[in-house]
């Protein structure tokens, strides 16, 4: 279960404090819920996921998580460009305290990522699709109660999308999922409920369809 109370976030920029990205969000995500995060570009989806995942700290307010959360998987962060895929995978195994079975886990990641010899090349040479494959594989190698996906499937090819779909399906049985995506079908497929972010505010919908409807109305799209 994740409890968010009066969450505010703004970033410091070179011109002082920026404007509020999130303005007083309060909501509760039940355990094992599969929630889609919806909102336009710049609405604060990634910011919210980073805060929920513990990467960023709220400027004000409180986040309480009584569960093991993954890092926000996506093609953006979490991979050190100068290290190879294997070195990155080993790094993550170590910080999660899996020094003893590091071999098995790295083998699993290599197997899942399916990026071939590139696994031993520096990550900076990867395409965004390869990055998200690796990042996705890395988070699946660990047991989390909640997985956070920030467009992890967006850059993937058909095979990656299929793999991700299978993974999400099997995860849905035992874990929660917080997912930001722009693809309506992806959201509908994996999420039951939705959080709609707009103007720094959040609206909770028990049904993802209602959330998508609200989003479309807000941008003036007919259903």
């Amino acid at each position: 279960m994740i409890v968010v109370e009066n969450l505010h976030k703004r970033y410091r920029t070179h011109a002082g404090m920026g404007k509020w990205v999130l303005k007083g969000l309060t909501f509760t995500i039940p355990a094992n819920a599969n929630v889609g995060i919806i909102g336009g570009n710049g609405a604060g989806k990634s910011t919210l996921l980073r805060i929920l995942g513990g990467v960023d700290q709220p400027s004000k307010g409180r986040v309480e998580r009584n569960c093991r959360m993954s890092w926000p998987m996506g093609y953006g962060g979490g991979l050190q460009g100068s290290l190879t895929g294997r070195q990155n995978a080993r790094f993550v195994c170590r910080i999660y305290g899996h020094e003893e079975d590091i071999k098995d886990r790295v083998a699993f990641i290599e197997d899942f990522a399916e990026i071939g010899p590139a696994f031993d090349e520096p990550v900076r040479s990867y395409s965004s699709g390869m990055r998200s494959r690796l990042n996705f594989g890395m988070s699946l190698a660990f047991d989390f109660d909640v997985y956070i996906s920030d467009e992890v499937t967006a850059a993937g090819d058909a095979k990656m999308k299929q793999k991700a779909a299978d993974a999400f399906k099997s995860l849905a049985q035992r874990s929660g999922l917080l997912m930001a995506a722009h693809s309506e079908s992806t959201l509908k497929r994996f999420c039951q409920s939705g959080l709609f972010l707009e103007h720094g505010q959040v609206h909770w919908f028990d049904d993802i369809d209602d959330a998508l409807k609200a989003y479309k109305e807000s941008i003036g799209l007919k259903k």
Binding site: V55, G78, S82, I95, G97, E99, A141, S170, Q173
Partner: protein, 278 residues
């Protein structure tokens, strides 16, 4: 359960629930992983990286020894210049390397803050540990060569005081590095100036030229520099018949290190979350 897929995607060795780790265990795991990661980029970021990590400082020190030793062995009778330089330059280079490496610790590890276990402070700790290791290996290699092939005597007279001095050095350099890292975050343009500052520091700390020859009142001004105290204290422990510089103590740099650490940690506390966001 849908029958859509037969592929069961599951990590290896799924246990019901792994035991919770204590904060200390998590920190230890993170430091270990970061130290290995630092060594990896040290060794593999350039061709023959592992060789150059040691060869670079060794070549620099050897060059200075040969070049200046030729002149100074005549002007400072009784004190072998090569040894005098070695016991001064290695600690100085260690402090410089710690400070400069900590400056860049956050930017070079930006991607890894994506894992919430990894905090900027951990990268400071890891980089400091790596630089201490590299400097120690450099020192031991050069000292070994000098003792076995050149027949120098490099004893350690006061091991406890020596360790205390080294600790103060590390704390001071660490604080300086953390502070510079935060400063550079606010003012990224001054990075080259900070780097250049270490060259005059090398000279006014008495690493290459003896400070003893400086007349008053300038000598007292130089005593404001904690590096000078640290270097000279360190020299006393490894050199026979070495007369310490007047006015040099461990107390002054230790105070500087403590105040510095306090300021650095305070600044870190107030800005740590800004460091994480790229």
């Amino acid at each position: 359960m849908t029958t859509e897929s037969n592929i069961i995607i599951d990590g290896p060795n799924k246990s019901p629930k792994p035991p919770e780790r204590s904060p200390w265990q998590v920190s230890k795991a993170v430091w270990y992983a970061l130290i290995l990661r630092e060594f990896q980029s040290l060794f593999w970021s350039r061709r023959f990286g592992a060789f150059w990590v040691l060869a670079e400082p060794i070549a620099f020190i050897a060059f200075m020894m040969i070049l200046r030793g030729y002149i100074y062995d005549r002007s400072m009778p009784g004190v072998p210049y090569a040894l005098w330089l070695l016991v001064g330059i290695v600690p100085f280079l260690m402090m410089r390397r710690i400070a400069i490496n900590l400056m860049g610790a956050v930017t070079s590890n930006q991607a890894l803050f994506y894992y919430r276990q990894v905090k900027p402070f951990d990268t400071f700790v890891a980089r400091t540990a790596v630089q201490i290791t590299v400097s120690s290996v450099v020192y031991v290699l050069i000292a070994f060569f000098m003792v076995y092939f050149l027949r120098y005597a490099i004893p350690i007279y006061q091991p406890i005081q020596m360790i205390a001095t080294l600790t103060v050095m590390v704390v001071f350099a660490f604080s300086l590095g953390v502070f510079l890292c935060l400063l550079l975050r606010a003012l990224p343009d001054i990075a080259p100036i900070v780097r250049l500052m270490f060259l005059p520091l090398l000279i006014i700390s008495g690493v290459i030229f003896p400070i003893r020859v400086i007349p008053q009142p300038y000598y007292d001004w130089l005593l404001w520099n904690p590096f000078l105290h640290l270097i000279d204290m360190f020299r006393q422990y490894s050199m026979q018949n070495y007369t310490p510089l007047p006015g040099v103590s461990l107390e002054y740099p230790a105070k500087c290190a403590l105040v510095g650490l306090f300021v650095a940690v305070l600044a870190y506390r107030s800005r740590q979350y800004d460091l994480v966001t790229s």
